[in-house]
Amino acid sequence: MGMTITEKILAKHAGVDGVSPGEIINAKVDLVLANELSAAVAIKEFHRVEGAGRVFDPDKIALVADHFVPAKDPRSAEIASSMMQWAHEQGVKHAFDVGKGGIEHVVLPEEGLIAPGELIVGGDSHTCTYGALGAFATGMGSTDISAAFCLGEVWLKVPQSVKVIYHGALQPFVYAKDLMLHTIRMLGGIDGATYQAIEFTGETIDAMSITGRLTMANMAVEAGAKNGIIPPDEKTFAYVRERTDRAFEPVFSDPDARYERIVEIDAGALVPTVAMPHSPENTVPVTQCEGVKVDQVFIGSCTNGRIEDLREVANILKGKRVAESVRVIVNPGSQKVYIQAAEEGILGLLASAGCAVNTPGCGACFGGHMGTLGEGEICISTTNRNFVGRMGSPKASIYLASPATCAASALTGRITDPRSLPLEPVAV
């Protein structure tokens, strides 16, 4: 019987020939990630483990200060600096403080720390982003991350796989974000793929940029999945080889691999899609919520904070002003994205259009700081979750959409279909 790409990566890292869904394995990890929030709890736990002392391999650990940076208060400053201090003590080189990294899930692929066939665990639910490069990657809590720091291995239950096959070419102003929001609904909502691996395949994915693929895999957890994964191809190999000379072994699903189900989606028929409050599964075509007045537009995050996302926003806002009634906040996803956007003139263009351009970070997305919402406020955002209280007040409402839909809405102060704009999208 054949195996899926997920099963093959797990088998290889468990040192066995084959694995089956439901089986519990001990798997070696290629990289363990934590941010300053999950690290604060994980390092505390690490110090409690008798016999721990040193991490299993300092080169296979990545630590990123991104959630409350620049520090929102003394406590936040302390947990970030404690993490950096611990990184120094343990000899962890891949440790990124504010100004040197950015959002973990934008930074790690960019830095060449992720390659096809690898197994990554991270103390953040959006660790599943890395599946875009043909790796197995899943989010865990701090105690599991501490165990991985100690042992270099984790216990995992092998997930069933769900295969999604996408047909057709995306229409203008329809992006990976729209496709993924639609996919969450098609899979059965926010628990539609609980404990499962989602394998994204088909001609739409083949044609998609690495940035688009990262957006897709990023939101696998929003369907409840353990991981999302995309078969690696020449685009993946080129992306990874530009960033690392580390050897890697790509793996692919067998033709007779077993799937819990196979879902086919006509991507060519899709229109710009929005997830309405208060769940990523509440998706509708943008035409059904057009005209809703918004107080804030947020552009950024591990879902949509990459240079291609910012180029799309710049294309729409170029030479214009955002509506007087709306606050527009833009967070480039990483320091590299920020520098690139500066070089391309995008930061200046956005600032001139009336956007507040912030330093990279997760703050606004998770209701931390630098863009939290007040009572009764409405925000349209390129982020990944719109649960009650996610971005601040439990009495605020969040709509999730693509960077283009958010940029179009910034111009009018109301939810706006980007196809109604008198311009062409940029090629992504």
Binding site: V41, G51, G141, T143, D191, F366, F387, P394
Partner: protein, 170 residues
């Protein structure tokens, strides 16, 4: 034996309402516990008594991987969560930190807010003392059962480290 009153909630109780992001720079269980379920049920912490249960519909704990969520629930003094199903990371985190979690759709259907509940964590027997009914929660797979019996993930990690040290010294 765990005993207390039930506080009932709906489906998809996510980690953002269990412990909002604004508190995630805290690590102390008691401090986190003061804000447990704050954005879902503002009165929960003042209303609940030590040892009470959270009883919820499906997909409890969906969303973020923040371990702060089960830590806050445990820190507030909740003895266990009974739900129709749990989100993956929350479930794993709960076992790791020693917050008892029970998957039992029948019990959830048979429990109303305020009911007096008794649970035997060893057997998974859930008794509704108010209504005189009882249910058995889904058993953990043997590997996870062993982790829980050992007192969480840390003893398991320590055992693995001892095995490695012994192998190296041979």
């Amino acid at each position: 034996m765990l005993q207390g009153h039930a506080h009932t909630y709906g489906k998809n109780v996510d980690t953002d309402v269990i412990i909002p992001g604004r508190y995630c720079n805290l690590t102390d269980p008691v401090e986190l516990g003061k804000h447990a379920l704050e954005d879902l049920d503002k009165e929960f912490v003042s209303r609940m008594k030590l040892g009470d249960f959270i009883v919820a519909q499906s997909n409890f704990g969906c969303g973020s991987s923040r371990e702060h969520a089960p830590i806050a629930i445990k820190g507030a003094g909740v003895s266990a969560v009974i739900a129709k199903s749990f989100a993956r990371i929350f479930y794993r985190n709960s076992l790791n930190i020693g917050l008892p979690v029970f998957e039992c759709p029948e019990a959830v259907d048979g429990i109303e807010a305020g009911d007096d509940i008794r649970v035997d964590p060893a057997t998974g027997l859930i008794e509704n003392l108010t209504k005189g009914t009882s249910y058995t929660a889904q058993a953990l797979p043997p590997f996870m059962r062993a982790l829980v019996d050992a007192g969480g993930l840390r003893p398991y990690v320590e055992q693995r480290l001892r095995e490695r040290a012994a192998a190296q010294s041979r």
